[in-house]
């Protein structure tokens, strides 16, 4: 490699990536009120990571967020989501009946809020984990992409 001729790219990316992550979390937690939700947040989060990988190299990214972690994250996400359903069931409700989480009567909203937030976390985990895993698997097949290849 002859010098770093991606300087501008790197600097801008360095500024952008934290913003993207923050935006992801905004989308995630503001989903109750406005457009967006965990799916979109998960994608945005994964995109942040992918941007990181494209600009700073796959190896560095993989070292920061290892593949086993993303893979497990996705599985854990599914388990969180499905687990909320089981939790409701253990509380005597139907599957995924958030109302039953805290044993509220109709009109009580704590269970709904808690349930929705937890499952959204599950979705976030599952989506960002799975998408990053997919990217890792695809990009990891070839050695680092050189400039001439683009």
């Amino acid at each position: 490699m002859k010098g770093d001729h991606h300087m501008i790219l790197r600097v801008i990316a360095k500024c952008l990536i934290p913003l993207i992550v923050i935006y992801a979390f905004y989308v995630q937690f503001h989903g109750e009120v406005s457009a967006g939700g965990a799916f979109q947040a998960g994608v945005v989060l994964a995109v942040a990571l992918i941007l990181n990988a494209l600009v700073f190299g796959l190896t560095a990214t993989m070292r920061a967020v290892p593949p086993w972690f993303t893979r497990s994250l996705s599985a854990v996400g599914v388990m969180i989501y499905a687990g909320v359903g089981v939790w409701a069931m253990l509380k005597g409700g139907h599957y995924l009946e958030y109302q039953a989480l805290f044993g509220e009567g109709p009109g009580g909203h704590d269970g709904q809020h808690a349930g929705i937030i937890i499952i959204e976390v599950g979705v976030l985990f599952a989506v960002s984990g799975a998408l990053t895993t997919i990217f890792y698997a695809l990009a990891g097949r070839v050695a680092e992409i050189r400039d001439e290849d683009w």
């Binding site: 989903g31 109750e32 009120v33 457009a35 967006g36 939700g37 799916f39 979109q40 994608v43 945005v44 994964a46 995109v47 992918i50 494209l54 796959l58 190896t59 993989m62 070292r63 290892p66 593949p67 086993w68 972690f69 893979r71 497990s72 996705s74 599985a75 996400g77 599914v78 989501y81 359903g85 599957y95 995924l96 958030y98 109709p106 009109g107 909203h109 709904q112 809020h113 349930g115 929705i116 499952i119 599950g122 979705v123 599952a126 989506v127 984990g129 799975a130 998408l131 895993t133 997919i134 990217f135 890792y136 698997a137 695809l138 990009a139 990891g140 097949r141 050695a143 680092e144 290849d149």
Partner: protein, 210 residues
């Protein structure tokens, strides 16, 4: 489409313009041989359709389309493209007759079906007066979530969302099963050029995750 909903000829023109762009891009994707151009054009397609979704008041769908279609898919497609050749092989003439007939038939049927579809945004249409209306009516009392889309996705039809989460998980699983974990190449890279400060050992240990 009633003007009352879409608000004047201006919007209608933009509608037509966007759909025309979509049509042209789709034709171009079908005709092109260069995979890179195809990937980029499909990103364009997603972006334009996201814009159009927002125009027809489906903000959530538009947002998702922009994030997944234009962002994620393009990145993944590019990564996949690296594994293969850059241009598609030219196909034999007439080899696409079958798919063309299928497409034409499906298109004709779709057109035929639209005759009896209710107009877009018609408040009396079944889609707006059926269970959709009920959601709007009972949502606040039931869930206390201001955004009905969220409460439908996460609560009323939360099981579908669980299923979709599982679909995403399956997709990740599928790619890993087929292509490996991507860790081998990482390990290779590390072995070939051990830079200062790297800890190859951890990676190897991690790579044996399952």
């Amino acid at each position: 489409m009633t003007d009352a909903v879409l608000g004047g000829t201006g919007t209608a023109l933009i509608n037509i313009l966007l759909l025309a762009i979509l049509f042209v891009v789709a034709i171009a994707i079908a005709r092109l041989r260069s995979l890179f151009a195809i990937v980029m054009l499909s990103g364009v397609y997603s972006l334009v359709s996201a814009a159009w979704y927002i125009l027809v008041d489906a903000v959530d769908v538009g947002f998702t389309e922009a994030a997944v279609g234009a962002g994620m898919s393009t990145a993944v497609l590019l990564a996949a493209m690296l594994l293969t050749a850059r241009t598609a092989k030219p196909e034999k003439p007439f080899s696409r007759i079958g798919p063309f007939i299928v497409c034409a038939a499906a298109g004709i049927m779709l057109l035929y079906a639209t005759i009896d579809l209710p107009p877009l945004g018609d408040p009396a249409s079944p889609a707006n007066s059926g269970v959709g209306l009920t959601y709007l009516q009972v949502n606040w009392y039931d869930t206390g979530v201001p955004n009905v889309v969220t409460s439908v996705l996460a609560s009323y039809r939360g099981f579908d969302t669980l299923g979709e989460t599982a679909v995403v998980f399956t997709a990740g699983l599928a790619v890993v099963l087929l292509l490996g974990f991507g860790e081998r190449s990482l390990a290779d890279t590390l072995r070939r050029a051990p830079k200062s400060g790297t800890r190859p050992g951890t990676v190897h240990k991690d790579g044996d995750g399952t």
